[in-house]
Each structure stands twice: as C-alpha cells, then as structure tokens.
C-alpha cells in the first residue's frame, strides 16, 4: 500500500497542473455545497423556529367522532342455513368544531412524557376599531403563563410588557402590522366588536412573530375575558402543545389523537407546503452546485486516462516485477483519493469561510419570517453531503482509468514498445 501510494503520488505530481484544476473544481464544488446547504438549511431552521414559536409543535382542535356502520349480510336463500356475517365499515369521520372538555384533554395530554407545555386557546373573528380605522382581526384568548410556555410570545414582544396582559383583563396585545394599520400607539384604547357587542380595551403591548399573517390579525387577551367577548363560556378552539423534541411531533400527534379523539396536527403537517418549498430549494441548490464537482470529475477522468495512456510502459514493468492488477488499479484510485482529500480539506475550509462571511450579509426578508441578515445553519451534515458528492464523483472518475490500467497485458505493451 505504501509503495502504491508513493507511485500514485509521483505520477500525480508529474501531472500537477491538470490535477490542480480538478482539485480546484472539487474544492469549489464542495465549498459551494456547504455554503448553499448552510443558507437553505439556515432559513428553513429559522422558519421552523418562527412557526414553533408562534403556533407550537402540535395544535389539537376539533373533536372527531368515528361513524362506524354495520352492514348485515342478506339472509340465506330459501331458508337454507348459510354463513351469517356483518361487515363493519368505517365511514367518514365527523368533526365537531373545537375542543370539548379542554381541562380533561389537557390532563390526558400532560401525561405524555414528550409534552412540555399545553395552552388552551379560545379564538374568534372580530373587528377592531381605533380612533381612525377599523380592521378585521382574530382574538386569541390565552392563559398568559401557559401560552408563554408553548410559544416564544415573551421574546416576541417589541413594545410594552406581557405583565400588563397578565394582570389586567382590559389589556390586549396586538401584532405590529395590525398596530400600524390601525395607527395606534402603546396605551391607546381600541374597541373590539363581536356579534354586535363592543368592548373597549387598552393596548398593553405589541408583538412581532415575523409571520405577517399572524402579526396583522392576532389580538391576544386573557382567556376568561375572551370567553366573555366571544360568548363562549365553555370549551376551547384549540390546544397549543409544545414538546421537548419538536421533531417528534408527528408521532406524538398520533398518540394525542388516539387519547383525546381530537384532531391533532403536527407542525410538519401544518407547514407541509412551506417545508416542501424549502426542501425543493435545498435539493435544487445541491444539484446545481454538484455540476461543478461533476465537471471537475470529468477533468480528473481525462487526466487519469491520459496518465494511463502515457504510463503504459511503466504499468507493464510494474506488472513484470510483481505488482498485481489490484496494485495497478490502486495506484490510479489513490491518485483520485489524494486529489479528493486535498479537495475536501480546501472545500470544507472554503465552505466554512464563505458561510462565516455570508452570515453577516444584510438582507431584509418579511413575510413568512422576519430577518435583517442572511440566516445560516452550521451543520456537520452539509460537510458530509459535500464530501459524499465529491467522493462518488472522484470514485467514478478514477475507477474507469484504474480498471483500464489493471486490465493491460504487460506482454502486449512490451512487445509493442520493442517494435
């Protein structure tokens, strides 16, 4: 192995310019894979963090009731005895809007070890009126302590204090977008109307989740106050559940559905469309950037094929002095491996450096989340992905020339060289 490695190294250095091109291509390819994955994964993680912070890992809503129908088989003909069966058919599920007996459900859900917090929410469509404007909005009646445990609401407050909301039933908390539309300031009063009845509240705080659809419509108030406003003395619209490991939301949601007979939607299910979009961009970026590696692989294939053609006599003499076909193949595979290793080291360094620089690049994004700079994710898997892509390409690029070199018959080469 050491001998074949030293032969590989010498052959490689004899073609250092061509190999340097392949090495550069691999380094750039790997570096860009790392960078694009860091950015796309960074934004995806930030989006997930935003939606978990706003809507929690699981939302339990709507009681479902299975409608099982038994269909009896027809009686046997002519009074003859025959098998008597009935088939139980599960028809469509019937959904009853909202959570029935929320306290019982909360008690049941709390027993699941993965669950870290539960918040009961009463929601209703309202109109909100400031001194100058009126907007449609949604009231979210919450128990402040419970909701802070299942969301990032505490961190999302940009003006005012959550303690006002906790202490006063007349206090409401508005999203920044809604506040801008209503042109109101902290401490202003607003009139919230539901089913023809209006109640006046004081704006105690403004929050910003970063999700425009939330920040423009949600009004948080105390749970008991929302029951009065929305005339819902019992029940809840949904339960917001947080988990110790949000990645396990789909399986925990299934357990909750079985236990509570309520529909439970994990964040992965709720945000399926956006998550698909992010995945699409990650794959697209990986494929696009991989072309750099593929082109480098082609260059390496050419160089190695050229070395094989130029070194036929050397291959013949190595075979004649006892080097096996595997030794010869290894010599060429090792040349690829040496370039790969150097390319990976440079590529990883380049990727990390670019990620570091990009992290501080200013960019303003509003809509599905809010950020003022590029969000990146530092994850070993991006480096592994870049490494695997490069390794596969180099292995293929080296394997064909190596196989050709190993198959050479020394007698034919020597006979040809001597003529």
């Amino acid at each position: 192995m050491q001998t074949t490695l030293s032969i590989a190294l010498r052959f490689l250095l004899a073609k250092r310019r061509a190999m340097l091109m392949s090495l550069t291509g691999i380094a750039f390819g790997v570096g860009f894979i790392v960078l694009t994955q860091a950015i796309t994964a960074g934004f995806q993680a930030f989006f997930i963090q935003t939606i978990l912070g706003a809507d929690g890992a699981i939302r339990v809503a709507d009681k479902n009731q299975l409608l099982a129908v038994s269909i009896e088989a027809e009686p046997a003909l002519n009074g003859k005895k025959g098998p008597s069966v009935s088939v139980k058919v599960e028809s469509d599920r019937k959904y009853i809007e909202g959570v029935v007996e929320p306290r019982l459900q909360i008690e049941a859900i709390r027993r699941i070890p993965e669950v870290s917090g539960i918040s009961e929410v009463v929601r209703g469509n309202v109109t909100i009126q400031s001194a100058t404007r009126e907007e449609s909005a949604q009231v979210f009646g919450i128990n402040v302590e419970n909701h802070l445990a299942v969301s990032d609401l505490g961190k999302q407050i940009v003006f005012g204090s959550v303690s006002d909301l906790r202490e006063s039933s007349a206090a409401v908390m508005l999203g920044t977008d809604l506040a801008k539309r209503l042109k109101i300031r902290l401490g202003d009063s607003v009139l919230i109307a539901y089913a023809g009845q209006s109640i006046r509240y004081r704006v105690a705080a403004f929050y910003e989740t970063g999700v425009r659809e939330i920040d423009r419509i949600r009004i948080y108030m105390q749970l008991e106050e929302s029951r009065i406003l929305l005339k819902r003395p019992f029940g809840a619209t949904f339960l917001q559940v947080s988990l110790r490991d949000p990645q396990r939301a789909p399986e925990v949601a299934k357990v909750i559905e079985i236990i509570t007979e309520h529909r439970a939607a994990s964040w992965q299910e709720r945000e399926k469309v956006w998550l698909s979009v992010f995945m699409f961009f990650r794959i697209l970026a990986a494929i696009t950037v991989s072309t750099i590696i593929v082109v480098s692989g082609l260059g390496m294939f050419n160089t190695l094929a050229m070395i094989v053609m130029e070194k036929t006599k050397e291959i013949a003499i190595l075979r004649s002095m006892g080097f096996t076909r595997n030794d010869i193949a290894s010599t060429f595979m090792l040349q690829g491996a040496l370039v790969l290793m150097a390319g990976l080291v440079l590529g990883f360094a380049l990727g990390a450096l670019c990620t570091l620089v990009t992290e501080n690049v200013p960019i303003t994004i509003r809509g599905i989340f809010t950020t003022d700079h590029v969000v990146v994710s530092w994850d070993l898997s991006h480096y592994v992905l870049g490494g695997i892509m490069a390794a596969i390409t180099v292995a293929i690029a080296s394997w064909f020339p190596a196989r050709r070199a190993a198959r050479m018959e020394p007698a034919e080469i020597i006979r040809g060289a001597s003529q």
Partner: protein
C-alpha cells in the same frame, strides 16, 4: 511464496531453473492469426547464460514473455520451482514473477519519477521481505556493482541510456531471482555500453547462480554466452551450440 528446488518432470535435475514443454502460442486474430511458437521445449540451468537467436518474428521474444509468465500459451507447460505455471491464476504468476524472475528489456522502462535507488527498491518493496534500511543497503550495493553508486539519487531521466540500462539490470537482480530474462538488453546501446551491460549482467548473474536467458540479434553477444539456441519459424533449429 517459496519455490524450493524440486525434481522437475521428465527427469530434469534440480539445477534447472526454468523449463518449458511443447509451448504453443498464436498471435493475432482471424486471418491475421499467426502460429508463433510450435511446441517449443526449452530449459535453462542455474549459473548459465543461454542466448536465443534468430530472425525477427521467429518467436524469440514471445517465448521469453511466456517463460517470464507475462503471457499465456495456448498449449504446453512452464515449470518453475516445481510447479507448472502455464495456466496458473494471475495472482500466483505475479507472485512468482516478483520472487523468481528478473526482467531486462531493450528499453530500460525505469520509472522516470523515481531515483535510480528507488527504482531498484520497487521490486523489493513489493516482495516485502527486507526492512527499509536493508532494502536501501542492498539497492546501493547493486548500484555499486553496476558502477552507479555515486548516482543513486539521480532521477532516471538524469542518467544516460547505458546508465539507465545498468540500473534496469540492478533492478532485475534486486530480489535475487533464480531466472533473469533479457530481451535484447543491449539492442538500444552502442558497442561500448553493450559490452559493459552484457558483462555486468552475466557476471552478476553467474555470481549468484542465476539462469540467464537472453534474446539477442547481436552475434558477438551470442558468442559470449554459454549456449546458443537458434530459432526459426517458432521452433528451435539445429543443435544447441555450447
């Protein structure tokens, strides 16, 4: 792999380093197929130099490549160290080449990226019997023996044609093989270098009791050998000249 001296078939003595029987070889395909070797039988004993002479295309080199296990015959046997290796698997043939056969070709075929010393050490490294320092010591001894001790660290490309061929001889002797096969070893050298190379090859091989089989067109070289086997149209002709 060890190939102890054993009695070879047909009453050959253990002094025989290599023996072939009824070797048959065709080259080419279809209408261009040529019967190059026609049931050739040959043996080479230790400590002797045998020259195979004959016109171009008579099958000398083909026979040499078959004896050196670089090629496979269509028929016949090749006995080295008590084994018939004519149709042995590639791994065994390669191992036998490494341990028992040294080649010297018309062109030196040195690895240009390696120094003279490193070129000689390559077969030793493959065999893996000696330590690195022992390999280096032996390679230096061989270089001294071929008169190139002072140029051991020169790249192959920094040596003259004659010097390169001398390095190739040293490389062929590196693993102390029992058989040296030389295909026109002086064919690419001037008269002076030819004489030096031939004398070196035969002296070193005889000192070690190796069998040398030499293919040559040069009558002066052939006349210096212990025996000469003329060849024509794929068979040995006439009597062995001693």
């Amino acid at each position: 792999m060890s190939t102890d001296q054993k009695i070879l078939p047909n009453g050959s003595s253990d002094n025989v380093a290599i023996r072939c029987q009824k070797l048959t070889r065709y080259l080419g395909e279809g209408e261009g197929r040529v019967h190059v070797l026609r049931e050739v039988t040959f043996e080479a004993t230790r400590g002797t130099v045998t020259a195979i002479v004959g016109p171009s295309g008579c099958g000398k080199s083909t026979l040499l490549y078959l004896l050196g296990l670089l090629d496979r015959p269509e028929g016949g046997e090749i006995w080295i160290g008590g084994r018939n290796l004519a149709q042995a698997d590639d791994a065994l043939r390669t191992a036998v080449r490494n341990e028992h056969i040294g080649f010297v070709f018309q062109f030196h075929f040195l690895l240009a990226e390696f120094t003279a010393l490193e070129n000689i050490m390559l077969p030793m490294k493959k065999l893996g019997r000696l330590t690195r320092s022992a390999m280096q010591e032996r390679a230096l001894k061989l270089l001294d023996a071929v008169g190139l001790g002072a140029k051991s660290h020169r790249l192959a490309t920094q040596l003259s044609g004659g010097e390169q061929q001398r390095v190739a001889i040293a490389r062929a002797l590196a693993n102390q093989p029992s058989i040296i096969l030389a295909d026109e070893p002086t064919g690419n050298l001037d008269v002076k270098n030819s004489a030096i190379v031939f004398d070196l090859l035969t002296r070193l091989a005889k000192e070690n009791g190796q069998a040398i089989v030499l293919v040559t067109h040069n009558p002066e070289i052939a006349n210096k050998c212990d025996s000469v086997r003329p060849m024509r149209d794929g068979v040995f002709v006439g009597k062995e000249i001693s």
